[in-house]
Structure formats: C-alpha cells, structure tokens
Amino acid sequence: MVIFLQNLVNALQWGSFYALIALGYSMVYSILMLFNFAHGDIFMVGAYIGVGVSMALASLGAFAMPNWLILVLTILISMFLTSFVGMIVERVGYRPLRDAPRASAAITGLMIGIILETGNLALLGARRVSFPSLIATTTYDVGGVFVTNKKIMIVLVSFLLALALHQFVRRTKWGMAIRAMAFDVTVVPLMGVPLNTMISLTFALGSALAAAAGILFGIAYPVLDPYMGILFGWKAFVAAILGGRGSVMGATLAGFLLGFTEIFVAMIFPSTLRDLIAYSIILLILTFRPHGFFGEPYSARLRL
C-alpha cells in the first residue's frame, strides 16, 4: 500500500509535465489542424530561459528578494519571454505555409526543432546546465510515503495553470474567439476576428505553458541539456492524441494518465520493459478509441 501511494505521488509529478506540454499541442491543433512538432523544443528553450532569468534575478541581490519570490517571478517572466519564442516560430515557420499541405507544415516543425536544439548547442556548448536550486528541498515522511515540498508545488502549479487555461478559453472574449476558430477557421475572420493575432495568441499560450513545464522540470530534475525536449515532446504528443485532439480537459487528463502508466508499469514489470509495455497499452487504448477520450470523429473543435 505504501509502495502504491509512493508511486501515486511519483506519477502525479511525472504526469504534470506531460499534461502542461500536451495542452500546447492541443491548442494549436484545434485551430490550425497542425501538430507543432517544435513544441518539445520550446519546452527546452523555456527551461533554459528560466535558468537565465533566475540567475539574473538572483544577481540583483540589492533588492534582497526572498527565494520564493524569485521563483514566482522566474516562472512568470520566463512564460512571458517564451511566449515570444512561440510567436516567432509561428511567424517564421508556419505562417508562410498556412495554405501548404499539412505535411509540409509538420516537417517545418521538425526542422525548427532541430534549429532550436543545435542553436542552443552552438550558443552554450554540450555542457549540461544545472538549474539553480531556488528553494531548499524539504522531505516529508507521511507514514512511509515520502513527499517533498517541490513535488507538491509542481503538481499544484500544473493544476492551477490547466485550470486557468480552461477558464480563459471558456470565459474570456479571446477564448471565445479561439473556440470559434476551432469551430470554423474560414468563417470567423469574416466576423471581424483578427485571424493572425488569434493564432499568435494560441502559440503564445501554448509556449508559456511549455515554459512553465520547463521550469518545473528544472526544479525537479536540475540537469538540462539541449536535447531534453525531443523525447518529452513525443510523449506529450501521444498524450495530446490520447486526450482527444483539441481538448483542454482531455490533454490534461491524458498527460496524467501517461505519467501513471509509465510509473506503474515500472512498478509491476522489470523497468527495462517500461516504455515498451507502457506505450503498448496506450496503443491498445487508441485501437478501441481512435479519437482519444474526448475526441470526436473528423472534428477538431476546441471542446471543454
């Protein structure tokens, strides 16, 4: 029982990252029918920006900010900065290809990913970067289940961000426009909705969430390298499909489900077979529910 609960805690943390990244995939897909394959690398860029921002804030020692404030500011500033990376990627990589076949755009995404990875490599070298430990780790022993303050924070922040996005899409005028575009991208501009601005906004939102995931990742696993986003991007992509393309709730739930599957497969089976078994299970689910949990056949509407 203790082992089960411990793994439940482990899985909640691990799933948080998948959920946050999958949201970005889903948002973009819902309005452009396009999987932004550079998204995993935007997650990586976000983590590196987080390192830069937190180091810059820490060096402004004159203000004598407490560490938790530095952390909150790091997350907010990095989300803001990374959203521009997302918008630039859209402007440079996807907008010129908006009317091109979707395959071309997907390939562009892969290339942008490679450019981001190797650009980072050229800029900072192959040395791994250590994420500054902004808050001291406190480990709590709850009846044999070990929980750290960082784990609690990561799960809470992820939930809050997913909830915030949900509310944004449901309650604001911008959110309504995004939903409308997901419904029909050709008619909506005729109603006076600025198409390019809305698409930029969607990319910005997705990238900001990826940046938050990157920083939380850096806090939990403080060793960053330029290729950290590739595998993560793929797996989060699987979560986006599993959740039902274009579904906010679905992406979040599927992200957590993916985390649970990986952790619990490793708990029951030999860890060597973890990904083999975990992703066979996912494949099996998709065989019976090809449109994911919240997906509808041949539709990409942003649903809630």
Binding site: I3, S130, T137, V223, S271
Partner: protein, 390 residues
C-alpha cells in the same frame, strides 16, 4: 679511480652521441612518447608530456639509466598524434622504424591506442598505454601493455569494498541498459556480488534508458527491496539526478559508483546530495600520501595545477618501462633483441610500487592492480579513502 672511469664513459658516450652510427644508437636508450598534444583532448597530451619529462629529469639527475652495471643516457622521442587514430599509427610507425625507440609509451585514449597497439605488435616493439581501458588495446597482442585497470575490473573491486567496509549483504543496482559502459559494469558487479553473498543477494536490478530523467519508480522499488546499498555506474549528469531523487524518496543508505563519477561536473550538478558518497577510480589527488603526494607537489610546483589521472598513470608507465629495461640485466646493442628482452621483462614485473597502486603482470598486458576508493568530502572534493583490491 672509479669515479674517473665513470666520467670517462660519460664523455665517451657524449662524444659518440654526435655520430649517428648503429652502435652509438644502441647506447642511447630512446623512449617514444606517442601523445595527444593537439586535437580533441590536448590536456591529456600535456599531462603525458609533463609526466614523462619529469621522469627524464630524475634519470638525468642520476646520470643516466643504470642497466646491468652500465649507465645509459636516455632520450625521449615525443610525437603528436593529434588525437586521431591515423596520426597515432603514423607517429608509432615513425618512432619505431626511423627513430629506433626501444619502448613506446602511449597513446592514451583507446581510440588511438587500439590502432597504434597493432603497429607496435607488428614491429615487435613493446608499447605501454597508461590510460586506455578498452580490452582490445592489449587483446592478443603480446607486445602491448597498459598501466591502468580495465572497465570490468571495477565490479569485483566495489563488491569487495562494500562487503568489507559496511558488512552489507544485500545490494541494489540501477543502470542505463542502453549504454555499454554502465551495462557492462552493472553485470560484472552483480556477478561478483552474488559470488560473495549467494544468488539473489542483488535484491533489485533496475534499469532505465539513456535520456531518462525520472527514476522515481525504480528507486521506490529499490528502497522497498531491502537493499542496504545502491550501486549506480552512471555518468555525472545521471548521477546527480539519481542521487537527488533517491534522497527525496527517503533513501538514506550509501550510494556507490565507478570511475565515470570522477568528473568535476559531478559535484557541480549534484551539490550537497553527493557529499559523503564513494566511488572507485584510478587515483585521487586530495588526501594522497607518500610517493603519490610527492609527485603531486612536484608536478604542481612546476606546472601550476594538480595532475590528473593521465599524468599519474603516465608517471607509473615510465616507472614500469624503467623497471623492465633494468630487469633485462643489460642491453645487447641489437635493437631487435633488446626490444624482445624488454617485452619479456615487463611481462614478469611483480609488485611494482606505483603512485596509482601496486601492479603485477602475470602473462598478458593487463596489470593486476588495486583501484582507489574515493570519498566525496564535505567540501565536495574527491578524497582518497582507501585502496581496494579484487
């Protein structure tokens, strides 16, 4: 009287050195240094050169190398192999066929040492690589030796160390199944541990794949398996993650690693979590004693930094070469015969006291030697803890 004749011999030898005749060449002992002076790993070449030159200073101060009652002047033939396999082959061929070296020291890295070893073996010239840990360097090559231990050797050494130091009987292993070095070492450790404590004494044998960052599931398993120690032969980036996550899951028992931990980055990335942990390696600068300490002080005074394991192993390789030449009991002047004599003498070296440990060759080119167990101190330094033997 005796002194005067010695001076006479020296003068005569010095005189003869100006005449590059075959006879005079045999009287000067030439040692080839095939080093990575430029290219990817210039620091390795630099350490090699500095250590070899320090050894030469000692020989010169003693008035030459005494072999069979005669003193011979020594000359180093230093060639750059540019950290490239083909240049290492070229350098080896040149020093063996043109310069007529008696012994070749280097190359250091396996990439260069494996092909250069083939050349040395073909020309029947003894070669010793101080640093190459790849089994292929010396495999089926009677003329090729090394001054370090092989990768697999650390498995039994660590199993013994943990058993005698902590009296533990149950161990856990966590390793990368997709990478040769950790996978091999994990297997060797498991074999050695089960030989000591019986089958099933490795209570958790968990793996992951390269690029994984979350080990919480594996570590939860390990923690609940009743293991008393965790062995993880990983590289520095994974070490930091594994150790931190283990501590966050409430693991308070020792974690032990192998020489892949021996990078300054380990402590940079891992921080305080790694303090007090142990790993095995070739040599440790902090906390060294005796001859090792003397070497470090001398090297540091001359070159301004603490010598790394390459320099220390090169120093030992030079010592082995010296011992092998002296053990031949006298040079014949025939380079071919002398090379053969040096080779068989080197293969017979027993209990050589090196600064990286005692070495014994018992057939084959790989020495039996002890590893050094390093403890990461509370200041994050790699501290000599004890020597550990298989």
């Amino acid at each position: 009287m005796r002194k005067r004749s010695l001076v006479g011999v020296c003068v005569l030898l010095g005189f003869l050195a100006f005449f590059p005749s075959g006879w005079a060449q045999a009287q000067t002992i030439k040692i080839g240094i095939n080093a990575e002076l430029t290219g990817d790993i210039p620091k390795v070449g630099e350490g090699t050169k500095f250590a070899a030159q320090m050894w030469l200073e000692d020989v010169k101060a003693a008035g030459g190398l005494a072999v069979g009652g005669k003193k011979y002047p020594v000359e180093l033939v230093i060639e750059d192999n540019e950290s490239k396999a083909e240049s290492a082959v070229k350098a080896a061929t040149k020093m063996i066929t043109e310069d007529g070296v008696l012994v070749m020291v280097g190359p250091q890295a396996s990439k260069q040492a494996v092909p250069a070893g083939g050349i040395a073996n073909n020309y029947k010239t003894p070669m010793i690589s101080p640093w190459s840990t790849n089994p292929d360097t010396t495999k089926d090559r009677p003329y090729v030796f090394r001054a370090c231990f092989l990768d697999p050797f650390q498995g039994p050494v660590l199993a013994n160390f943990i058993t005698t130091e902590f009296k533990f009987t149950k161990a856990a292993v966590l390793y990368d199944v997709a990478s040769d070095y950790p996978k091999g070492l994990a297997e060797f450790f498991k074999m050695a541990w089960e030989r000591l404590h019986g089958p099933g004494s490795v209570v958790a044998y968990e793996s992951f794949t390269t690029k994984d960052t979350d080990f919480s599931s594996q570590l939860t398993k390990i923690k609940n398996s009743g293991a008393q120690v965790l062995f993880t032969p990983q590289y520095y980036n994974e070490v930091a993650l594994i150790v931190q996550q283990a501590h966050q899951l409430g693991w308070k028992k020792p974690i032990v690693g192998s020489d892949s931990w021996g990078s300054a980055e380990t402590v940079t990335l891992c921080g305080k979590d790694c303090y007090g942990l142990f790993f095995s390696t070739h040599y440790a600068a902090a906390g060294a004693t005796g001859a090792t300490k003397e070497f470090i002080i001398r090297y540091q005074r001359k070159h301004g930094y603490v010598p790394d394991d390459v320099a220390a192993l090169t120093w030992d390789a030079m010592g082995l070469v010296q011992k092998a030449i002296q053990d031949t009991g006298g040079l014949t002047g025939d380079l071919k015969k002398d090379r053969e004599n040096v080779r068989s003498a080197m293969g017979r070296i027993k209990n050589f006291k090196g600064i990286t440990g005692d070495m014994t060759f018992s057939g084959g080119g790989d020495p039996t030697k002890c590893a050094v167990i390093v403890r990461i101190s509370d200041k994050g330094e790699f501290e000599f803890y004890k020597a550990a033997c298989p």
